[in-house]
């Protein structure tokens, strides 16, 4: 058996409250409680956590139904249906702000109230689903350590994660709907990213790495179209790769110094190889053997090979200096590199 829908009845006239409660029970709902003041309404809502609240606007005590309804809605998210005998525009405007699930005017019959309640419950279920999905997406967005933002073709922020919002100095919710370019009054984002955000939106995806504030970022900008394929939105994702960059640099340096060490080894070995060659040559010319020339030729070949290795050493210093000299190239911003490529 499915559980019954639980509805609180908040009504200042005890008789009306009883009637309503009876009517609801007859329809098949459960009424876990009735209250006639705003304060009691809030307390009951917290106690029973009902599926819905029928809230009279006029209540006993200083707090009216709209205030109580607004409080319950914002703190517990429970759907509220306002019940009233009369409603001025001012009252309706106030009630609207608490995002109620419906209004029902007294007097009402069973069918009217059932329809209103069913529609409210259906909407509440949809709302809950949307909220859950929103929460899931939010969790996903914020779990990623990257900076993430989704903007539309007018560069208005559609979604943004906490990491990116923090850089812009506001909470994510406060940023949604704002034009991202307007937020870049101070250099909170890297040069290249700022430029991309404020330049005309193209359908092309872009990828770049750049150094900014002593950190390295890898940024991807890619367009996503909606189902119709016309409404282009842009996802911007920026990933901190400082650690990886430093590792690369370290590896490069270690590689260079290893080359240097190997070459040094060659140097010592080459020197040691030439000593026996010298001795062989010496004895050969003393002996004047039949094969003297042939042996001498082989000695010459070995010596040439050793000379090749020696040249490697002489050039290794040049290679190292080359790397050191050109290391700043790796630090140049993406744009400068790009311009260099263009010039070529």
């Amino acid at each position: 058996m499915t559980e019954k829908i639980r509805i609180l009845v908040i009504e200042d006239e005890a008789l009306v409250a009883d009637d309503m409660s009876e009517m609801l029970t007859e329809i098949g709902y459960e009424v876990p409680g009735i209250a006639d003041t705003g304060e009691d309404a809030i307390a009951l809502a917290f106690k029973h956590l009902p599926d819905l609240i029928l809230m009279d606007i006029n209540l006993l005590g200083s707090m009216d139904g709209i205030t109580a309804g607004g409080e319950i809605r914002s703190r517990l998210g429970i759907p509220i249906i306002y019940v009233t005998a009369f409603a001025t525009q001012a009252i309706i405007d106030r009630a609207k702000k608490t995002t109620p699930s419906g209004y029902i005017l007294k007097p009402f019959n069973e069918r009217q109230i059932q329809t209103t309640i069913e529609i409210a419950l259906y909407n509440a279920a949809i709302e809950r689903q949307l909220k859950e999905r929103d929460q899931t997406i939010r969790t996903l967005l914020n779990t990623v350590p990257d900076d993430l933002v989704l903007i539309n073709s007018e560069r208005k922020i559609i979604a943004i994660n906490e990491s990116m919002a923090k850089k812009l100095g506001q909470m994510p919710d406060a940023l949604v709907g704002k034009v991202i370019g307007d937020l870049l009054t101070s250099p909170v984002l890297s040069d290249m990213l700022s430029r991309i955000i404020t330049s005309p939106i193209t359908g092309r995806s872009t990828y770049f790495e750049e150094e900014w504030n002593n950190r390295w970022f890898e940024t991807m900008v890619y367009p996503v179209a909606d189902r119709t394929g016309t409404n282009i939105r842009i996802v911007i994702q920026s990933h901190d790769i400082t650690h990886r960059k430093h590792l690369d640099e370290k590896l490069k340096e270690e590689g260079i110094s290893q080359i240097g060490k190997n070459m040094e080894q060659f140097q010592i070995l080459n020197d040691q190889i030439r000593n026996p060659l010298q001795v062989i040559k010496g004895y050969l010319s003393l002996d004047h053997t039949k094969y003297g020339d042939a042996i001498n030729k082989q000695v010459g070949i070995i010596n040439n090979l050793v000379t090749q290795l020696d040249k490697g050493w002489l050039e290794s210093e040049k290679v190292q200096q080359f790397f050191l000299k050109h290391r700043p190239m790796f630090n140049k911003s993406f744009q400068e590199q790009n311009e260099e490529v263009d010039l070529q």
Partner: protein, 202 residues
């Protein structure tokens, strides 16, 4: 007949060099390391020192510096003799202190002739420098002139090994030549008879 001091840590090298140079009538003293070689210079006065570079303990360049820093041995002729090619830095740093740089393996039957020609060049230079110092008061200029000549000789001798550095080498050579010419022009021929006469060989 010359007196030669050979400093090399390789026993076989010392033996075979001694053998050949003895055959040519030279007197050979040999030492297995830089320290022993310098110690030997207290009693031996060689016409030329043949100095290996890669030696355990005191290496050849350190030994060269010690010899050239000591006023008692500074004037001696030194030629390096190594299985290692010099790099650019070594040439620019030590070129002016050495009379030549021989790379092993050498044709030992030629070694005596080579050493003789090195010593002849050394004596020629020494004589020229002495006579110049009587004519020109700026002795520093004379030293500079000959130091550059010697470095230039080394650069030209080994330039073919620095294939990837050829531009740098050419620049160095040009710089030295220009300076040598400047010094020469400031005094006028024939005060510097040795000008650009050096020919790399061996």
């Amino acid at each position: 007949m010359s007196v030669i001091l050979l400093i090399d840590d390789d026993d076989d090298i010392r033996e075979i060099f001694t053998l050949f140079l003895n055959l040519e009538g030279h007197i050979i003293h040999s030492a297995p390391g830089g320290r022993e070689g310098i110690e030997m210079l207290r009693t031996v006065h060689p016409d030329i020192i043949l100095l290996d570079i890669m030696m355990p303990g005191m290496d050849g360049w350190e030994t060269l510096c010690a010899i050239k820093q000591d006023p008692g041995t500074r004037a001696l002729a030194v030629s390096m003799c190594s299985g290692k090619l010099p790099d650019l830095k070594e040439i620019n740093q030590y070129g002016k202190y050495i009379e030549d740089y021989l790379v092993k393996p050498q044709e030992l039957s030629e070694l005596s002739n080579i050493l003789t020609s090195i010593m002849e060049r050394f004596i020629k230079y020494t004589t020229e420098i002495e006579s110049l110092k009587n004519k020109i008061s700026d002795h520093h200029l004379i030293d500079e002139f000959y130091n550059f000549q010697k470095t230039l000789y080394m650069l030209e001798k080994f330039s073919r090994y620095f294939t990837s550095d050829s531009e740098e080498i050419e620049l160095d050579i040009h710089r030295y030549k220009t300076r040598i010419q400047e010094i020469h022009d400031s005094q006028g021929y024939p005060f510097f008879p040795g000008l650009l006469e050096l020919k790399p060989g061996i």
